[in-house]
Symmetry: C2
Subunit: 320 residues, 2 copies
């Protein structure tokens, strides 16, 4: 019988679990509210109950049909030992999640930071499949990152690495929540693009952006791209500036890692090929290894809305 | 008998070879001019002849006393297969240096990029000894880097990674030779500090820097540090600005890698503890993981003038 895995996307608001095959297809899924704060043991029981009922409702036997459970969680995670060093949102420290959940489940449980789970999914079954060296950069509320290097996850000495959103690309630039000024995510996050679009609209009441989105509160990362596609000058300026900063940070990462593939995820990556086409000339001009025989390829991440569940399941596949 | 290794620092001007023990001590050394351009086979013979005569002059037997030969070379190097993909300065492509030299030497030969050799030396026998995750950043003519991650060299998919000098930290800033604007090395290299010191002296004829170095052509990376130590306001401004940019780039690397140790090498690192003390408050303020239980430590690289020979030898030790 085909090997199946459970992936658990452990978020601060919801816990989502899915039964996933080795190719990253979700066969069924279910979620419950996380309802924080609560003690670790209670959350562990919630995770187990969710997975148990997911299996029962879909006629799977947790013991016989499921090879392993993978958990993707925010925070600093020692994937090899299965310990969450610190998860500030949950208020947990030194959480022995693997050991505790294996007692409940009776089968293998693996855990990884959620960004690391996302790159594992792309490497195992997505758009970086088979790569030994690949990055994921997510352009969402912030800019996040995960790295698969020399054939394994790279998390840093203290499991807190790959904060690629917090590299300064404009010294003394925009104030970041992290305390620095000019961080990459202040310019390249979906939220930054949204704010820049709103600011441009306020300055330019003549812009077609107002027709695309008459309610300025509803502007999102797609708005300016839609305006540029229609030929609006203000939207074009907003997008071109955005791409200039995004490319700047991406080339920084390429010059450091020279990975085979960089996967772009998060809201902005919904622009897909249009986004890649805008980035390409910048990368071709600035990549330090632009004359090398092998070059980094930038792609859109394969796994989208269910990336959390699939990534977590792939952590199980990867370790199994 | 103690294991000995030959380290060969293969530069565009000189080839330097040394017999080195496992602790990174050089027992004897010798160098010859590289005399480029010349065909690969001729250079290989030069390397062999240099090592052979180094052994003979010092009463070592190349076959019996030497365990392995390590070569450190500029360019993109596939250390596992022992191939130099590209060395632009030498004009070589796809140079099968390991295979060719092993035929000449009759013992194991290993090759690495010179920056990678430098971090191997620090990890094997230097100030990052025993670390699984460490970086070296060299502050010389440019800013170079090498990375040892998850217990092995990380070179990138195309062996051209770790160009840490070519991350933009000031968008649209100073023009870099690489084609980008605002690269880290334009602000943090020893040569940048020298140029900034000279510019400040021209603007400020009253500065004590003119007493420290009356001939402006002889200014180097030490000059401004000397001035700041004497309390000169102009020198202090130059050094403080330099440190601000250096810290900016170093924190970028820390936020990406969160290594156990960052070793600083190159001319500027001769300022040793004085340099580290100036950097520390910046790092403590900006490191994204400043509240983590384990933090990156910045140290001065142990191996100095002979780092090339020792690093190359340690490539042999590491592979042996």
């Amino acid at each position: 019988m085909e090997k199946l895995y459970i992936g658990v996307d452990l978020g601060g608001t919801n816990i989502a679990a899915g039964i996933v095959d080795v190719n990253g297809n979700i066969l069924c899924k279910k979620s419950v509210k996380t309802n924080l704060p609560k003690p670790e043991a209670e959350l562990e029981q919630d995770i187990y109950n969710l997975c148990k009922s997911l299996c029962e409702e879909n006629k799977y036997n947790l013991d016989k049909d499921i090879k392993a459970v993978g958990i993707g969680t925010p925070g600093s995670v020692d994937g090899k030992r299965g310990i969450v060093w610190s998860n500030v949102n949950f208020g947990y420290e030194n959480w022995k999640i693997k050991e505790n959940l294996e007692k409940l489940f009776g089968i293998s449980v693996y855990v990884e930071n959620d960004a690391n789970a996302a790159i594992i999914a792309e490497v195992m079954a997505g758009n970086a499949k088979g790569c030994d060296n690949a990055l994921i950069v997510t352009l969402g509320t912030g800019v996040g990152g995960g790295a698969y290097l020399n054939g394994e996850i790279y998390a840093g000495y203290n499991y807190a690495g790959l904060e690629v959103g917090h590299i300064v690309i404009e010294k003394d630039g925009r104030q970041c929540n992290c305390g620095r000024k000019g961080c990459f995510e202040r310019y390249a996050a979906a939220s930054a693009l949204t704010r820049d679009t709103q600011a441009a609209m306020k300055e330019h009441p003549e812009s077609a952006l107002w027709e695309i989105c008459p309610d300025i509160e509803k502007v999102n990362a797609k708005t300016a791209f839609d305006g540029k596609k229609q030929g609006d000058a203000v939207a074009t300026q907003v997008v071109d500036t955005y791409i200039d900063y995004l490319a700047c940070g991406l080339v920084n990462l390429i010059n450091i890692f020279q990975p085979q593939v960089v996967c772009l995820g998060g809201g902005v990556s919904n622009e897909r090929q249009y986004l890649l086409d805008l980035l390409k000339p910048h990368i071709d001009r600035e990549d330090f290894a632009r004359n090398a025989r092998e070059r980094t390829e930038i792609v859109i991440a394969k796994f989208r809305n269910d990336a959390g569940i699939i990534g977590a399941a792939m952590v199980g596949v990867n370790n199994d």
